[in-house]
Assembly symmetry: C2
């Protein structure tokens, strides 16, 4: 992996990105993309490091963020086309597990590979394709230096979790459940860009309380910790880049 001089941070929701954008003083880039596309870009510098945040944008009919993998895939593609980054980070909030000793707000970095838990295709070859298993980079110095947990991330297009989803997440050996990472990792892998994900825990899968109720209650804490963690990561990347 070549030295990181530019990083593209993919975030699905405005609420997940706001604090980080403010913390770094990133400015919105007007006309970054085809005007019909909903994606939004914010850019700036951390000393020598170029930082761009791309958001999936808003569904104008319902005034909500374009969550789930389909917009994330397209946002990542146009983000790479426009900014040609050295590294792609997918950042966001996610579901964790009490049994994995997660706490609300914990930051977890991707390890092993990025997997899907909602692409069940029981035909030879398609079964493993469906799960995906797209690579992510291993940055042991970063995770050690910043005291970040690591875990396998599993992606599906729903916020809730059916028994089938849970079974697949367990088969995937995953302890983080979220809604975009494997789609983004697929685009990064296709275009041969290094990829990592960092997620902060907003809800527990193994809780009697529905994910959506936990998510609303814990979003502020999870996004605060997401911003703090991302700030540390970009400063680390800048420091590392300067070492050559």
């Amino acid at each position: 992996m070549k030295p990181v001089k530019s990083v593209l941070i993919m975030i699905a929701m405005r609420a997940e990105a706001r604090e980080f954008i403010q913390a770094l003083g990133l400015k919105q880039e007007e006309n970054a993309f085809d005007e019909k596309l909903p994606m939004m870009a914010y850019s700036g510098k951390v000393e020598d490091l170029s930082v761009v945040v791309v958001l999936n944008g808003i569904d104008k009919r319902f005034d909500v963020d374009n969550v789930a993998t389909q917009p994330a895939v397209l946002a990542t593609y146009v983000g790479i086309q426009k900014f040609n980054p050295d590294l792609i980070i997918n950042a966001g909030t996610a579901g964790g597990f009490k049994k994995a000793d997660h706490e609300i707000g914990d930051a977890v970095v991707s390890c092993d590979t990025l997997k899907f838990h909602d692409r069940r295709i029981p035909l030879k070859g398609f079964d493993v394709y469906g799960i995906g298993s797209y690579p992510c980079i291993d940055m042991p110095d970063l995770t050690k230096e910043l005291s970040l947990k690591q875990g396998i991330i599993s992606t599906g297009n729903s916020l809730d979790c059916t028994p089938t989803d849970l079974e697949m997440i367990e088969k995937n050996g995953a302890e983080i459940k979220e809604m975009e990472a494997a789609g983004i990792a697929w685009v990064a892998w296709t275009l041969e860009k290094p990829f990592m994900a960092v997620k902060t825990i907003s809800d527990f899968i193994d809780s009697h309380e529905p994910s959506e109720e936990q998510f609303i209650k814990n979003l502020a804490k999870a996004t605060k910790n997401l911003s703090d963690t991302l700030v540390k990561i970009v400063h680390y990347l800048n420091w590392q880049g300067k070492q050559g």
Copy 2:
């Protein structure tokens, strides 16, 4: 809707596309896309009508077609960027229902809107966003002239069908279940391109036999009828385009 002089036909699998490509004598366009992308394009003419088929391409690790919505979204985007068609058709095989009087091989054209059954997001606004409900064009003359059935199509990323999937498909009022259409319809809607889908039935959802076993058994019949139907549709579009 302006007269259709060019049509982009999005097909996920090589096996679904082969007969149609041969029937029209379409030729592969080398270097249609960024060389890192797996998508493939085949183009030709039906008299005055330009016809392009874009396939999602192959996962080089597992040698299988890139099915499901994530590659379909990206393929549609790059297909529109490259060919700027007047109309996008998503064609493929799909699951139908015995109780809807479907028969294996039946061709069904999209009506109403394109919906997802595996984006369950129980938060205000996100719930309806998740289902999607992206528009498709209504071509009553075409469906009548070619004696095609119409039905609501519901999209998910799995070939199998869990009880939760079935419940969502029923809530969507859908009688066709497949794996790409709503993702493609989202891109078409975003880029303001008219969209329709045509699917031929390869398996029954309301059968005791697993979808994958039916799919393998019926694929030849379903793809033959898909090709025959697409040939009729492109000839109809060419005839209609000449009427001005």
